[in-house]
């Protein structure tokens, strides 16, 4: 996943070296592909191949549009039909579960840090952590937004997404925004009365510490991978520029 993100960024950086016309063709293909169910890894791989080909043709003085057969949408569809991307239910569940766990821990941490701890310091010791239906509702809302941002916008970068945004997606984003601002406050209040579970504050804090430690390890892995990939990338670019 980390490598896919890095490779995708690398391809978008390289696409900046294309001419305006060629970059528009690349953007159109990338928009089309990012709306499919191609995995992050496969998508990054295809972006890298395409931008590499475009870059080579441009430097040879060849017409990119001619090389891909004159129609970028058809070309993107040819690529998709060659791969037949399909996301299995298990893969979707694993992704959703991972994201939900991350958001759950994030929300619980925010509550512990900004509500429970200040209460304790203010002389109201709270030894238990109470999880209500309101917390779950907030998690669902945040999950919806994050899932959308990561798996739809995140695949193509915001710049491309803004160009290729579909009417359905626009309607979904606006609907969710209106719902959160106007309706959510009225729904949240009664939900707070429904308790889902209570847990000791010490085990909750310990669990959160372990979780964030794991996140830190992953972040470090990402940084190491990033440096490894980009070191090679920049070395390659310098080599080319000398010629």
């Amino acid at each position: 996943m980390f490598k896919a993100m890095i490779m995708r960024n690398h391809s978008f950086q390289l696409s900046r070296e294309l001419s305006v016309e060629n970059r528009q063709i690349f953007d159109a293909i990338a928009c089309h592909l990012s709306a499919s169910s191609l995995s992050h890894k496969l998508l990054a791989d295809v972006y890298e191949d395409i931008v590499g080909m475009f870059w080579t043709w441009q430097n040879e003085g060849a017409s990119v549009r001619e090389k891909i057969g004159g129609d970028e949408t058809k070309y993107a569809e040819d690529i998709l039909s060659a791969i037949h991307p399909r996301k299995t239910l298990w893969k979707w569940l694993a992704e959703a579960l991972g994201l939900a766990s991350m958001l759950f821990c994030l929300l619980v941490t925010l509550r512990v840090v900004f509500l429970t701890f200040p209460q304790m310091w203010g002389g109201h010791p709270a030894s238990t952590f109470l999880y209500t239906l309101r917390d779950l509702w907030q998690l669902v809302l945040l999950f919806g937004v994050t899932y959308f941002v990561l798996l739809h916008i995140g695949k193509s970068a915001l710049r491309l997404y803004a160009r290729g945004i579909k009417k359905r997606d626009r309607f979904l984003i606006l609907g969710l925004l209106y719902f959160s601002v106007l309706v959510n406050p009225f729904i949240s209040a009664p939900l707070e009365k429904v308790h889902i579970f209570t847990a000791g504050l010490i085990p909750v804090t310990a669990g959160l510490l372990v979780f964030w430690l794991l996140v830190l390890v992953f972040a470090l892995c990402y940084q190491i991978e990033y440096k490894r990939v980009f070191h090679k990338y920049f070395t390659g670019r310098d080599l080319f520029r000398k010629k």
Binding site: E48, G52, T56, N59, K67, Y75, I79, K232, G236
Partner: protein, 112 residues
């Protein structure tokens, strides 16, 4: 009626496999060799989706290598399944070619 792209569909994949069978190679070189063999309107761009399909089917494998002239190049190599596919492709192609030849020869005989 005689649309070249319709003729190409299917047969081009077999030819790409044969070109890759000769030595490990990359998209640009494959397109060049196909052009040299007389395939018209072929470019690295048009064969890229086919290479993706062959890779997904497990007939070829690819590895990316640094290129002195710019971005990395993807080199393709045939798998055992790919070699088997070439034999099967050529046998089917020979059958079809013979059948077409027979049809056209027959037609010529009746006209003469």
């Amino acid at each position: 009626m005689a649309d070249r792209s319709q003729f190409f569909r299917g047969t081009l994949e077999g030819c790409i496999l044969k070109v890759i069978d000769q030595n490990e190679t990359y998209g640009y070189e494959i397109a060049d060799r196909l052009l040299a063999f007389g395939f018209k309107d072929i470019s690295e761009g048009t064969i890229y989706p086919l290479l993706l399909r062959l890779e997904k089917s497990g007939l070829v494998i690819s590895v990316k290598r640094d290129s002195a002239l710019g971005p990395k190049r993807k080199y393709y190599r045939l798998t055992d399944a790919g070699r088997h596919e070439i034999l099967e492709f050529y046998s089917i192609w020979s059958e079809i070619r013979d059948s077409i030849d027979r049809v056209f020869c027959n037609e010529e005989e009746t006209h003469v």
